[in-house]
Amino acid sequence: MTNEELKTHLLSLIPQATFVETGEFLEIFIHSENILPLMKNLKDDEKTQFDYLFCLTCIDRISSFEVVYHLLSKNYKHILVVKSTISNIENPQTETVSHIWKTAEFHEREVYDLFGVKFINHPDLRRIFLEDDWKGFPLRKNYSDPNMIEL
């Protein structure tokens, strides 16, 4: 599918989604509540077949968290970037996609470890790198540590 076709297809799924096309890939911005049905559809739909999640990470936008999914279809060779915004910064949580793409399991644990975003229904959501009793989430912009020198 071309970017235009993808766009019309995605708009039929989530009418309130917004798009950015200035970058290299087509980006779709959605709210985190819509993530699960959208992702299921993208993977299973014959027309899209996004069978390969090649990057999952998170960005702290201060007023919100943005979970970024990079998707590729092996057959059609099209790429889509899904950016899901979590506006609740006090207790950020979103649905897991690890049962759709198994690879998301470690990715999501990494995001939980470093950003504190909780993934609902994740099979094993624990810290992956840091110790279990680590205080705070280091990759958040407001994280501070007494040993860290201000620049």
Binding site: F54, T57, H70, K74, T103, R127
Partner: protein, 405 residues
């Protein structure tokens, strides 16, 4: 799992222990794991019932450190991801920044980069394949090819002054061209390596014991591999011809002819053979690049980002100013967001960089192939013998530095 249950019930020795499972800690430091990570195995006698991985023993928070460093100083961090093939990481990072800024790179730099990256790939695959052999008990091949790896490191040393953590190149090109010694060493390597490599291959590939130890060990299907996000030789061994160099060519890879070897079953044998074949393809790419090497400058003309040579810094006012600005991270990079990936020795090594125009990245994420495919390990070794699990691990080429970042 059903087979496993059958094995348990049929095995009287296990019955004597009332079918109780024993726990085995493989790691964090264990001679067979080649790195610092832990596997907690639940064992049924000598069979693995289930396993769990613990990571993070050498987590150095590179993504956090990168948020406080100027772009030029992030390259040394990437050295320490997959330290068996640092040049690929370095050049990948440089190309990510170049993509963000939009620098056009001279053809010669592309070709020099291809040569260095392919040398690094050869070095990485040599380690991986020889270590598979070591883990099955065949030490000789290891000593053969480590001598060859040493030659590659000598070439790196000639180019950039370092061997393992190379910090090779600059944003915009290289700090200097290949000198005469480097070219001489490279030519000698290209002449003599194929013969040595043949020796290594004949030692192992027709070796009955070695074949018995690796065929059908630790298999994974193409569909599962894709679902787990495998890339690189491990995915190709499962039968999917995905290679970033061909799919999305960077650094003039489209100029070269090379084959993408694929396996069938995704077992240790396939992974071994795919890497063997890739070494040959890399050699052919290096030969082509040497033959077609264009003339021209060894760096792009971007004084705001490319570190000037030291002789200029000491004698020219302008060079001194740029030197100071680059070192202090005062040059402006554009706002924006890029995802750039190179075909690392283990798979797709991606850099997801978000810049807000400041002196350091707003957010930098390394997509590390090791970290992603390592989660399949516990599925791949389920029900296998412990000694097979070790071979599976070394054939996946799990590198602790890349695992933890």
């Amino acid at each position: 799992m059903d087979n496993l249950q059958k094995n348990i019930t049929e095995n009287k020795a296990v019955d004597n222990f009332d079918n109780k499972l024993s726990t085995l800690n493989l790691g964090p430091t264990h001679p067979a794991t080649h790195g610092i990570f832990q596997n907690v195995l639940k064992m049924d006698g000598e069979r693995i019932h289930s396993s769990e991985q613990t990571l993070g023993y050498i987590h150095r928070a590179f993504e956090k450190i990168a948020e406080r460093r100027p772009y030029n100083q992030i390259r040394p961090l990437t050295d320490r991801l997959n330290y068996c093939s640092s040049p690929i990481n370095n050049i990948g990072w440089d190309m990510t920044v170049e993509k963000l800024i939009g620098i056009e790179i001279p053809k010669r730099v592309d070709y020099l980069r291809v040569i260095i990256m392919e040398l690094a790939r050869i070095a990485d695959h040599l380690i991986c394949n020889s270590v598979i052999a070591v883990d099955t008990g065949a030490l000789t091949g290891f000593t053969y090819v480590f001598q060859e790896r040493e030659r590659i490191y000598e070439i790196f040393e000639e180019i950039c002054g370092a061997r393992l953590t190379t910090n090779i190149g600059r944003i915009g090109g290289f700090e200097r061209d290949f000198n005469e010694t480097a070219n001489k060493k490279l030519k000698l390597f290209l002449k003599e390596f194929p013969k040595r490599f043949k020796d290594f291959e004949t030692l192992l590939c027709r070796n009955r014991i070695f074949m018995d130890r690796i065929i059908n060990v630790g298999p994974i299907s193409a569909e599962r591999a894709l679902n787990y996000g495998f890339t690189g030789p491990n995915l190709r061994a499962a039968g999917i011809d995905y290679d970033v160099r061909a799919m999305n060519p960077y650094s003039s890879y489209q100029d070269f002819e090379f084959k993408i070897p694929v396996g069938e079953n995704g077992d240790t044998f396939d992974r071994f053979m795919v890497r063997q074949e890739e070494i040959k393809q890399s050699l052919s790419i290096i030969n082509q690049a040497m033959d077609m090497m264009p003339e021209g400058p060894y760096h792009a003309d971007v004084p705001e980002f490319y570190l000037p040579p030291k002789t200029d810094v000491y004698t020219k006012m302008e060079a001194l100013i740029y030197h100071f600005k680059i070192i202090m991270g005062e040059t402006k990079v554009p706002e924006g967001e890029v995802y750039f990936s190179v075909e690392g020795a283990n798979g797709e090594l991606g850099y997801y960089l978000i810049s807000d125009g400041g002196r350091s990245p707003y957010r930098l994420h390394f997509r590390r192939p090791c970290f992603i495919y390592y989660q399949a390990f516990s599925e791949m070794i389920k029900g296998a013998l412990l000694s097979d699990a070790i071979v599976t691990m070394s054939s996946m080429n799990v590198i602790a530095g890349e695992l933890d970042a």
